[in-house]
Amino acid sequence: MNAIYILWLRQLKRYARSRARIVASLGQPILFLLALGFGLGPTFARAGRGDYVQFLAPGIIAMSILFMAVFSGIEIIWDRQFGFLKETLVAPVSRLEIVLGRTLGGATVALIQGLIVFIVCLAVGFRLPHPLLLPAGLAFMALVAVMCTAAGTALGSLMHDMQGFQLTMNLVVLPLFFFSSALFPVANLPEAMWLAVRLDPLSYGVDGLRGTITGAFAFGATTDFAVLVGLAAILLTTGAYLFSRMEV
């Protein structure tokens, strides 16, 4: 337990100390929120779909969690490069404890990032219909954070250098974001697109968050919850397994 806690705390400290990283990773969601929110807003309203910022905000929150979580998970490559990984691998703790500490730390960091973006959304006009919806929204945010950090840990355990990082961002993270229905409604989508949305794990996070806030689910709260919990469990197990096979 001690080991899980101290590794969790380490992730938090590293995050809190890298102001540049916090600011840089806030830039993208804010850009999307402002440029798309107000750029496409009038068209969205004319199509009879209501306020686009209100629709977009949960998607952008999910996006910021996705980016930060995968990044935190993949940070294992940095630890390998700068040597700290060896210190944890010869410590008298199981690999599972190390993975859990890291993943929970990364997920907490991603959740904090999501909350900051949530506050930014409030600042540009997003409104929560009822304050009691916040805990349910937070639960979905936390699930997305755990799932994505675990995926990052799994990917990071497979990589040996930084080159794989950029590749992951372009080939995994960006498609996950764009197909997740974060930016568009799912009604009347072409069949292939609708399939892609359903295959994208992040869609269930976006839907859970958006449904909680707006009341309109695409898949249903139970489905969203079940898919996220299931995938988080599978990815955590995979991440733990791949990490346990890592050599110093």
Binding site: I6, R10, K13, F82, E87, V248
Partner: protein, 266 residues
């Protein structure tokens, strides 16, 4: 003397390549043991087996009477290690690195604080307690790593080239710290290095490994006598030859090494 490390007919194979080939040695408790050999001779592979990172293909290994393969978590409590490359978290302070290590090794908080103070005073870093590791010099980082490796009161300290890349002043200082701490805490030391004068000065016993086999074992004086060499460096060359070994280096590194070697001869 009680044996602290025992290796019997240790073998490690990687597919068709045998990195460690029937190696046997014994390190008595409280001894400073130098493990020497050219690059690619099997030093690091042996250390990895001693420290639970790799399992041997054959043979038997005991650390303070315990088997690293069957009791890895117990054995990990028995040793401290300073790796060849740095393994500190640069974004944390010296104190936080110590704290993290103490927590990983299950030390109670009060003990962590007390031990941290004792050890950091000993290595002359107590005034750097709250300095970020990234702001420490290379020598300071090494001293911090040695202090950290001793935090959980290990019985054995493994040092893989602990002084590589440091100036002579820092090297002498670091060895003074290692010797002082080991005297105070009765720790057995197992180290590798390429600096022969260092071995001569600090090692009680030496083993030389080459091509995965132990080619000589004894005190520095015995090794010099055995080979009829004036210095330990000459003895080492007599035992292991003049050829440059880059067993696992890539062709470019090999060429670089050859170029450097020919430059020295010129």
């Amino acid at each position: 003397m009680m044996p602290m490390i025992e290796a019997h007919d240790l073998v490690k194979r990687f597919k068709s390549f045998t990195a460690v080939d029937h190696v046997s040695f014994m390190v008595p408790e409280g001894v400073v043991f130098g493990f020497l050999g050219p690059n690619g001779a099997g030093k690091t592979t042996t250390i990895k087996m001693l420290t639970t990172v790799l399992a041997q293909s054959e043979g038997r290994l005991l650390i303070d009477g315990h088997d690293p393969v069957t009791e890895p978590l117990l054995v990990r409590r028995l040793f401290g290690i300073v790796f060849q490359d740095p393994s500190l978290d640069d974004e944390l302070t010296a104190a936080e690195n110590m704290e993290l290590h103490g927590a990983l090794y299950g030390l109670p908080r009060s003990q962590r604080r007390e031990r941290t103070e004792t050890l950091l005073r000993l290595v002359g870093l107590w005034d750097r307690l709250d300095t970020y590791v990234k702001h420490l010099s290379g020598g300071m980082k090494r001293r911090l790593e040695i202090a950290r490796a001793l935090l959980h009161r290990p019985r054995v300290l493994f040092l893989d080239e602990p002084t590589v890349g440091l100036d002579p002043q820092t090297r002498i200082r670091i060895w003074e710290f290692i010797r002082a701490m080991c005297r105070d805490e009765r720790v057995t030391v197992f180290f590798t290095t390429h600096y022969m004068e260092e071995v001569e000065r600090v090692a009680d016993r030496i083993a030389v490994i080459d091509h995965g086999r132990i080619v000589a074992e004894g005190t520095a004086a015995a090794l010099r006598q055995q080979t009829g060499a004036k210095t330990l460096e000459d003895a080492f060359i007599t035992l292991t030859g003049r050829n440059i070994r880059e067993a696992d280096a890539d062709p470019i590194d090999r060429m670089r090494a050859l170029r450097q070697a020919s430059g020295i001869r010129r």
